[in-house]
């Protein structure tokens, strides 16, 4: 009896852990939060949804003590609290895992986990062995597969994130806040992350899970709260709701209808058969005999795990990674990409994976960013044609519906989706022959994502050949005419859109090719 009772208590969380009531927050003239309520129970994963700018980040920053609230109350375990600093919030047992991580890259996993809490011997010397042992025991208990001695900087992103979560759980954490933890994880890594979250909730930790991926909400959360325009747009019990209702709450009823209809109207295009880009037998340090072709007007997807060589294919075509053997042809003409400047001149454009690091100069205006790859077009005898550049930037802002005051707004001030539109704006005019996209919608909210899909489809319809890398299989299925599966730097198989039904199937295919390695399966499928 007692046993079943305790199990029930674990699986049906009820105690209210965090209670947020009628919070208001104003930044200058903008009301970022309006009477927002949120309740998180012990042992619950509570998903927090909303478009960028809906108020999720502001709410999180208030909970973590970064911003002070204007009015409203927060209770933790029944006691009212006031945070005037992140330290206070941490003391109350709230830990936040941010998208951009807060680890010391030059230190090991164990050092990071116990940073500032190192076991000390006489004279303050660190007891290295005790430190390792403690870190190892903790990771083992959580079931997180991390090498405690590995240097954090050398780890793949997913493992750094796990380190971050483990670090948060190491303290006395009651409420764990995860801000888009899966945005750059592969499906296997997501599994590991979800397991770790499960272990945390079983210890009674409450989790606020911020995400843009709706399928994850159904997989992991018990309840969902949706914010829209800084106010509550509804709280749902996950098991009693569905995708459509959540999308409605996120974007508002009118807009979601138009998104759905737009998707249904996705035109079936007859593709011109002439290849814009073709790679034959291309090899270098990361690629092995890649054969690939993109025809005019095609959207061609590259599916595969992180590190499989998807990004490297784009980098090779863009001239960032030298070609060792094989041939690249652009519209039938042999071409040896020698660098980004050469690639751009040939009409090849890249929207890179990391828009902050690779795509944008954040402290510069939209205008400066948009004109960056086309500076020679806006100059005469070396002098800038300032007005032409400004006009062009304003036109890009208008065409891509970038939500900004104007082309002179700093890119840093824009939301993720709008920043990504600016990166697209760099390559909008003249139309590139080949458009290379690397994870084009990472960190972009649902509404803006549809707009970016529209931009991509428009580019293809206007005759660009599009090569898109994405970890979001739904996205590949929705966008692509053909999808190539990349395993270990090799194209394991290329599928036409009709050969595959849904993301589930693509996922299984990926797993199968990954498990078998590229060699034998290629023969099997032939």
């Amino acid at each position: 009896m007692e046993l079943s009772g305790s199990v029930a208590a674990e699986t049906r969380p009820s105690a209210s852990l965090a209670m947020v009531r009628a919070i208001n927050k104003r930044f200058g003239g903008v009301r970022a939060l309006r009477d927002v309520n949120l309740e998180v129970r012990a042992g619950e994963v509570h998903a927090l949804l909303g478009e960028n700018g809906a108020g999720k980040s502001t709410l999180i920053k208030i909970l973590s003590g970064v911003h002070a609230l204007d009015s409203g109350t927060i209770e933790i375990a029944g006691k009212p609290v006031e945070f005037d600093s992140p330290a206070k919030s941490r003391e109350a047992g709230i830990a936040v895992v941010y998208q951009d991580l807060s680890l010391v890259e030059s230190l090991s996993v164990a050092d990071n986990l116990l940073l500032g809490r190192e076991p000390r011997g006489p004279f303050g010397f660190v007891r290295q062995r005790a430190l390792l042992a403690r870190a190892e025991a903790f990771l083992k208990e959580l079931g997180i597969p991390l090498d405690t001695r590995a240097t954090v900087g050398s780890l793949p992103f997913a493992y750094r994130q796990m380190t971050e979560i483990a670090k948060a759980l190491m303290g006395e954490v009651r409420l764990l806040i995860l801000d888009e933890p899966t945005s750059s994880l592969t499906s296997d890594e997501v599994r590991i992350l979800f397991d770790a979250i499960g272990k945390a909730t079983r210890r009674g930790v409450g989790v606020i899970y911020v995400t843009h991926r709706l399928n994850e909400v159904f997989e992991i959360s018990q309840r969902v709260t949706v914010l829209r325009d800084g106010a509550n747009a509804g709280t749902f019990v996950t098991a009693e709701t569905d995708m459509k209702r959540l999308v409605n709450a996120i974007v508002g009823t009118d807009r979601s209808a138009s998104i759905v209809s737009r998707n249904e109207r996705a035109p079936k295009r007859e593709l011109d058969r002439s290849p814009v880009l073709s790679l034959s037998d291309v090899s270098n340090d990361r690629l092995r005999a890649v054969d690939l072709s993109v025809v005019k007007g095609e959207i061609h997807g590259l599916a595969g795990l992180i590190g499989s060589g998807r990004t490297e294919i784009l980098e090779t075509v863009f001239g960032l990674r030298p070609l060792e053997s094989g041939a690249v042809e652009l519209e039938g003409r042999r071409w040896l990409p020698s660098g980004p400047a050469d690639a751009i001149e040939q009409g090849v454009a890249l929207v890179p994976e990391d828009r902050h690091m690779q795509g944008l100069v954040l402290d510069h205006s939209i205008e400066r960013n948009v004109t960056l790859p086309r500076i020679p077009h806006f100059s005469r005898w070396g002098w800038m044609q300032q007005r032409a550049a400004a006009r062009r930037a304003e036109a890009a802002v208008a065409r891509l519906a970038v939500k900004a005051q104007g082309a002179s707004s700093l890119v840093r001030t824009l939301s993720g989706g709008n920043q990504q539109k600016v990166v697209f704006g760099k390559w909008n005019d003249p139309r590139p022959r080949v458009l290379l996209l690397d994870e084009p919608t990472v960190g972009v909210d649902v509404g803006a994502r549809e707009e970016i899909y529209a931009v991509i489809r428009n580019a293809a319809r206007d005759g660009s050949g599009v090569l898109v890398v994405s970890s979001d299989l739904v996205e590949l299925i929705e966008l692509c005419d053909r999808i190539s599966v990349i395993v270990n730097g090799h194209v394991a198989r290329t599928l036409a859109r009709g050969e595959i039904d849904d993301a589930e199937e693509l996922h299984h295919l990926l797993q199968m090719y990954q498990a078998a390695g590229p060699g034998p399966l290629q023969e099997l499928s032939a």
């Binding site: 960032l320 890249l350 960013n369 960056l372 304003e394 802002v397 519906a401």
Partner: protein, 330 residues
């Protein structure tokens, strides 16, 4: 597919708008007016405390004393915006001055030969700095720390530390003692360097690229910009300006000395940072640099007029620089 329409279409700019933008462009900074306010406060304080400070002669004096720092600071602005640093400028000046004087004494006593030798030597040191920084990926702090020492050593070696006397009157007139449109030539050269700097940085393609390279080198590379060439060009420009400063100095003192202006690189860097450049790259403007170096020049001048002892001058100058930077930053 649905046409997407922007929520805010910005109206085309009117003429007054454009004029305002021009003013903003030339004066821009984190807190654009703080720098000018600081300069004015400095002027007022010195005017009230010294009867000799507020005179045209003294201002021309400040202008002349500031020329070397100001001229080189124009180049340093480009370098710091590009996320680099050049510690070798004072040594480059000394070496360029020696090259100019020796070239004149060897070849026809011609001022043109001297000018070409001086500018060329400076540009060559800059080229070497730039190539080592970009091709070998050595941080420019280390590269130029090395060339600081090497250029100074070379300058001393060529004559065994003896000065070289210059006798060409035209050379004195053009670079040191004459006047152009009523302006003493050292100040005229400073203004020329500033104007070229403003045109290059704010109106030329090169300036756009410099900002991009410093703002985010990876994004610049991915946008097809030859970041190495751009960075190297900034070093060459700075080296050549150090050469110009060498011509001005040697023409004023009728000789080139190998041991001049030691430590001046710090004044140059201070002027640029005071002027609103970010040490993290991507931000800065020439007019700010001019005021930065004027503030340093005014400080030097004013403290002397007030009879402050020279050790105390150093302390006060350092403190004011740190305070001013703290004040002008966020």
């Amino acid at each position: 597919m649905t046409e997407l329409i922007a929520p805010n279409v910005v109206a085309s700019s009117t003429r007054s708008d454009r004029r305002r933008k021009l003013v903003q462009k030339l004066l821009r900074g984190e807190r654009p007016y703080m720098l000018y306010i600081a300069f004015v406060i400095l002027l007022v304080v010195f005017s009230l405390s010294s009867p000799w400070f507020l005179s045209i002669d003294n201002f021309l004096n400040i202008g002349r004393q500031t020329t070397l720092v100001s001229i080189i600071a124009v180049g340093m602005t480009f370098i710091i915006i590009a996320r680099q640093i050049d510690l070798s400028v004072a040594s480059t000046l000394a070496l360029s001055g020696m090259a100019a004087a020796l070239a004149m004494s060897q070849i026809d006593n011609s001022w043109i030969v001297g000018a070409v030798a001086g500018l060329g030597t400076g540009a060559l040191v800059g080229l070497i700095n730039g190539i080592l920084t970009t091709q070998l990926s050595i941080p420019s702090f280390l590269v130029t720390l090395g060339s600081l020492s090497m250029a100074r050593g070379l300058a001393m070696m060529v004559t065994n530390t003896k000065p070289v006397i210059i006798t060409n009157e035209t050379y004195f007139a053009i670079f040191g003692e004459g006047s152009f449109l009523g302006i003493p030539v050292p100040i005229a050269w400073t203004l020329a360097a500033m104007i070229v700097g403003i045109l290059l940085l704010h109106y030329n393609v090169f300036g756009r690229r410099i900002y991009a390279v410093g703002g985010n080198p990876t994004a610049a590379l991915y946008s097809g910009i030859n970041t190495k060439l751009i960075t190297t060009t900034a070093f060459v420009l700075t080296g050549a300006l150090a050469g110009l400063a060498a011509l001005v100095l040697s023409a004023r003192s009728h000789a080139a000395r190998p041991d001049v202006v030691q430590g001046m690189e710090l004044d140059v860097i201070a002027a640029v940072i005071l002027g609103g450049c970010s040490l993290f790259g991507g931000r800065g403007y020439i007019l700010g640099t001019l005021f930065g170096s004027l503030i340093i020049g005014t400080l030097n001048n004013g403290l002397v007029l007030l009879g402050v002892s020279s050790p105390m001058q150093l302390v006060i100058k350092g403190a004011i620089i740190v305070a001013a930077v703290a004040f002008t930053k966020r």
